[in-house]
């Protein structure tokens, strides 16, 4: 993912010079800042390549990416092409699932103006807040993130003073001070849900990392840039009550009957039922569809 070895010439110069004690006021004199600078340099470089949330592209652009690649993938993209119209890429910085979810959800609300859904999710957000409090999180550690998400939610509903258009939503989603805060909001919600239902999540987590629920949340959910997998998605979908469809584009080959593309619907459960894969009771098709390629999530638009 991120190459930690890249050189940052500026930082190195500083640390090489010995510094008289009287100048220790200057916090930039320390070797660790090199690491930090290097990190942000890497991020900046990455940012030049792709926004947090990219532009909508026709699915043919995806095919172009694999032109000289695996024939299985090309076959699968052809199948995808029948069902999906477009793709919107997100930056591969470990937060792609959350950023994809954020944009996709807000965009859906913006287009549908579904006030009932907004009221519903606000109720869930309130629940999440209580969950975190009961888990012992200090209010000030999460409240800014919650407030910012609710602000975004209100802004996509039209008729308010602060209502925004689709273009503005894209601009906001590319603004680090908004996007990172919303990502962090989702991370809090995810972590809270996993901890609250640790008995349910424990076996999944054990199968994944051999860590305790607590360790998993600390090392793989709450820190920015930690990638998400099905545990995160299940928890977020359950906590917010939002179904999510994930379409898998990988090399897993299919039998001779023909190429098909797997997908999994994460359907939120209230209570202790486990996740159902598209059962007959499933209410509606998830309005959020993400394309998963090993290590990365992008947004898909159905036809």
């Amino acid at each position: 993912m991120q190459n930690q070895e890249g050189a940052v010439p500026d930082g190195e110069k500083e640390s090489a010079i010995s510094i008289p004690i009287s100048e220790f006021d200057d916090w930039t004199n320390f070797a660790d800042d090199d690491i930090m600078q290097q990190q942000s340099a890497i991020h900046a470089e990455e940012a030049n390549k792709i926004h947090f949330v990219g532009d909508k592209e026709p699915l043919s652009m995806l095919a172009a990416e694999y032109e000289s690649g695996s024939p299985i993938l090309l076959e699968k993209i052809k199948v995808l092409d029948q069902q999906y119209a477009a793709i919107r890429r997100t930056r591969g910085d470990g937060n792609c699932f959350f950023r994809s979810f954020m944009f996709s959800y807000l965009e859906h609300i913006l287009e549908s103006q579904d006030r009932a859904e907004v009221d519903r999710i606000k109720g869930n957000v309130e629940e999440c807040r209580k969950t975190l409090q009961s888990l012992g999180y200090a209010d000030f550690t999460f409240e800014d993130f919650f407030a910012l998400f609710l602000e975004q939610l209100d802004s996509v509903l039209q008729g308010n003073e602060d209502s925004i258009s689709q273009d503005e939503l894209i601009i906001k989603s590319r603004d680090q001070s908004i996007s990172d805060y919303v990502v962090m909001f989702f991370r809090f919600v995810t972590s809270g849900e996993i901890r609250k239902r640790s008995d349910f999540f424990e076996p999944f987590i054990l199968g994944l990392t051999n860590a305790t629920v607590e360790q998993f949340c600390k090392s793989s959910v709450e820190p920015m840039g930690e990638e998400s997998d099905h545990v995160h998605i299940t928890a977020l979908s359950d906590a917010l009550g939002v179904p999510i469809r994930v379409v898998y584009l990988d090399r897993s080959s299919c039998d001779s009957a023909g190429v098909s593309v797997n997908h999994h619907d994460f359907v939120p459960t209230s209570g202790d039922h486990s996740n159902a894969t598209s059962g007959s009771t499933e209410p509606a098709r998830p309005f959020i569809t993400l394309l998963y390629r090993p290590g990365h999530y992008d947004i898909l638009y159905p036809k």
Partner: protein, 313 residues
């Protein structure tokens, strides 16, 4: 405090101000930390040496630098008081601080980090950057010294900032009022300073008259006063100021500590315990010396060349 000076829309500023508020409304006996008046991204702190360690009773000052991206990026810490565990004026390597930026998470706070820092003090440094591995005795001596006065920081110009000096002195006194005296090391002989400490402790016995109200407990002011009496080396500003430490902290927006019955008792039992310890230590030392003398005598006699031995030495 700094509300007018900063852009409240800036998420980092918002968050930091919230942490200041939280820090003020839930003061701890183990640490104290507040931003500098002129820059809320830079905090002064003091922590109390952890109990049951060679740092117990020590008061260690330091600085915290919060990055512009806080809380997405971790704060950095440096200690200013010589302590024998961390180098001073050097950023501290903790998994919670920015030596490992990838481990930091926004749900942590300055408070979390300070608690972690205290917990890290008695851990073996294992060669971590900026760590020191002084002997217990040396750390203990530094703990005693740490109580005398807060350390200086920065360039001579910076040290001329009266406000900052006052601020640091206030933090020091607050911590002195919270930190029990440095106990003696169980493994070593008592030193002069320790003898001085126990004399001071004796006075506490007569000073349990501090009145009492219910509420969150803070240890008593008698301790703080005593410390000032017994340590003439304390900074001039501290002695000259007629207000007790708590009052001055109130002036800076700190809630006054409330005394409880329970906590007033604490120093007494402590005194009892430490004087018992001292007696036992002396007895043990006496016995050891006696045995050594006997063994030596016997050795001289049995080997029969005592004279040669004497000449050689």
């Amino acid at each position: 405090m700094a509300e007018d000076k900063y852009n409240l829309k800036n998420p980092a500023v918002k968050r930091i101000l919230q942490e200041v508020k939280e820090m003020q409304s839930n003061p701890s006996d183990d640490f104290m930390s507040l931003p500098l008046e002129e820059n809320i991204f830079e905090w002064q702190f003091a922590i109390r040496g952890p109990r049951d360690s060679e740092f117990e009773g020590g008061i260690y000052h330091g600085r915290i630098q919060l990055p512009a991206e806080y809380p997405f990026q971790p704060p950095s810490f440096m200690l200013l008081t010589p302590n024998g565990r961390f180098e001073t004026q050097t950023k501290i390597c903790l998994s919670i601080s920015n030596h490992h930026p990838e481990h930091w998470q926004p749900s942590w706070s300055v408070r979390t980090a300070l608690v972690a820092l205290i917990a890290f003090m008695p851990t073996p440094p294992n060669g971590a950057l900026g760590s020191l591995d002084y002997k217990k005795e040396e750390r203990h001596a530094l703990a005693i010294r740490s109580r005398k006065a807060p350390p200086k920081f920065g360039s001579p110009e910076r040290q001329k900032l009266i406000d900052e000096k006052l601020f640091v002195a206030q933090i020091h006194e607050y911590m002195l009022s919270k930190a029990p005296p440095v106990p003696q090391l169980s493994t070593s002989q008592p030193t002069k300073e320790q003898a001085g400490n126990s004399d001071g402790e004796a006075e506490v016995n007569q000073q349990d008259s501090v009145t009492v109200a219910a509420g969150d407990g803070m240890p008593n002011q008698a301790e703080g006063d005593r410390v000032l009496e017994e340590e003439p080396a304390a900074p001039v500003i501290a002695n000259a100021d007629p207000l007790p430490a708590e009052m001055r902290l109130v002036a800076r927006g700190f809630p006054p500590p409330v005394f409880t019955n329970q906590q007033v008792q604490r120093p007494q039992t402590r005194v009892q315990k430490s004087s018992d310890d001292r007696l036992l230590t002396w007895a043990a030392i006496g016995l050891t010396i006696a045995i050594l003398v006997l063994v030596f005598k016997k050795f001289m006699k049995s080997s029969g060349h005592g004279a040669v031995f004497m000449d050689g030495s």
